[in-house]
Amino acid sequence: MTLYILCFILFLVGVYGVLTRRNLIKIVISLTIMEFSVFLMLVLVGYISGGLAPIVVHPEGSDISVVDPLPQTLVLTAAVIAVATNSMVLALAIRLYKKYGTFDIRKINELKG
């Protein structure tokens, strides 16, 4: 269980970064760290001790135990989505930098939620 708790701590570190940092790039990095922890969580859930990687080398002897392939599939999909998120947020960040001349989120605060 220690592993899962550590993984959740990594997630919370990312949340803490998003909530307290003021630099746009730092916010993106914190989001990335959150992504990493979620991926790790999914893979940890699917691990079976003593299992092999889910790629069959010898199709004849099919009695080997294999770790769960489904969480790995989910992580593959989620990873591509993460790349999409990162590139979009970074494109916005460069646009904002050119408009305001800074990455500081305090100075880019014209709108009040």
């Binding site: 092999l52 990687a53 790629i55 080398v57």
Partner: protein, 85 residues
């Protein structure tokens, strides 16, 4: 035996982390990242021997190539050039 060596290989990854946190200048940190990339290749090679799953060699290739790309991008920053120069 090889498994023990694998543990050692994972354990020495702590040195690059120390370098990344302490590193007085940017270049030191980049060197640490470069070395970490090569060390992970070693882990991959040891896993080939342990598990007998030979397809891992592809990952070694991709790993070498991609860490080359990222280190080159970082090095270009050091040369004080724009990315598109």
């Amino acid at each position: 035996m090889v498994e023990f060596l694998l543990y050692i290989q994972v354990a020495i990854c702590i040195f690059p982390l120390y370098c990344i946190i302490r590193g007085p200048s940017l270049a030191d940190r980049m060197v640490a990242l470069d070395i970490l990339g090569i060390l992970v290749t070693g882990i991959c090679i040891k896993l080939i021997i342990i598990t007998d799953q030979l397809f891992m060699m592809d990952i070694v290739y991709a790993w070498i190539i991609l860490s080359f790309i990222s280190v080159l991008t970082l090095a270009k920053y050091l040369e004080n050039k724009k990315l598109n120069d």
